[in-house]
Symmetry: C2
Subunit: 195 residues, 2 copies
């Protein structure tokens, strides 16, 4: 196969990339826009693109977020230059006439929100993974977390909307002193089979 990324790129994306517990640096609007402009190209079913992102950066926004965080996630998140709230829109189908214009895809998803939940959650999660890897590709380090009260985040950031929080990602320059020895992974034969 051609077009294989070089070792340093594979290291940065996967092999030596780590989840950091302490971050420094500053992230301007330009960097956050660059991040979205990259991750947005990742594929979703029928181009649903249900993810919605809030980049929490100001003191005021962090103060709104803090009470929703598990105790162990508070300090590192308040210190991080930015924390991204990765959410998904349960009513993503309203944008399908624009996003998937060659057929009436909106009609596939009409009806009660619960029917759309798995689609929004799956595809919004894919886009959250694209955010993590796009950030790494842009030289940023990440700290994804699910240790928070989703109902409180929804109340503070998505009240009265069809958007629900999924997970959080601290962003910045990771401090190597803030990580522990790497945890193991399952072997190929534990996680995979070829048929």
């Amino acid at each position: 196969m051609t077009d294989v990324l070089d070792d340093s790129a594979l290291d940065r994306l996967f092999r030596t990339a780590r989840t950091y517990n302490r971050f420094s640096g500053e992230l301007g609007d330009d960097t956050l826009r660059q991040l979205y402009e990259l991750l947005k190209w990742g594929p979703t079913s029928a181009n649903q693109s249900p993810a919605r992102f809030v980049f929490v950066r100001s003191k005021e926004a962090k103060a709104k977020l803090e009470p929703a965080l598990d105790e162990g996630n508070r300090k590192k998140t308040m210190e991080a230059p930015v924390v991204a709230i990765v959410g998904y829109d349960l009513d993503f189908h309203h944008k399908l006439p624009y996003l998937f214009p060659h057929t009436d895809a909106k009609s596939w998803f009409e009806g009660p929100q619960e029917k759309r939940r798995d689609h929004a959650f799956r595809n919004g999660t894919l886009q959250g993974a694209y955010l993590i890897l796009a950030a790494r590709a842009l030289g940023l380090d990440t700290g994804p977390m699910t240790g928070f009260d989703a109902a409180k985040v929804d109340e503070a950031f998505f009240k009265g909307t069809s958007i629900r929080s999924n997970f959080l990602v601290n962003l910045g320059k990771g401090d190597p002193a803030s990580i522990f020895e790497r945890s193991p992974r399952l072997s190929f034969d534990e996680a995979c089979r070829i048929e």
Copy 2:
């Protein structure tokens, strides 16, 4: 920021990468193992690593899969060198004493399977996204799909286990003649806000 990947890498991962509808080539065991050895490093909550992958390559395995596919996905999937079934293990917590050894994380997830479903689905989906991007990083093209009958795939490939199918990914060398004009994406201001 340092360590930004070069333009050709960003193109291959995101900007010019496409979901193909026709594939050629052959994928040996070595390539599939290399793919897993890369994607396995992507982060999951508490290192849950719930994704389980079946690489469907033989005629026999494809014949088992075919009846579960939506009509429109059959031809392209039967022709693809390999289709990966991305599944998730609802009983992922049994492996946490190995995967997350510094605390008793297994106890957090004991109880009925339904309690673990969102965790398994979210983190298994993240790992599915890592598979897509790891494949691209290795010079492969991808064709992710959700157009199939999950109950039939579970019956054919995961019967009597706690593994459930999530989505499928065709893998190989994509044929540029098999894609249409690229669909649009939401703008930054439609999908994001900075607070």
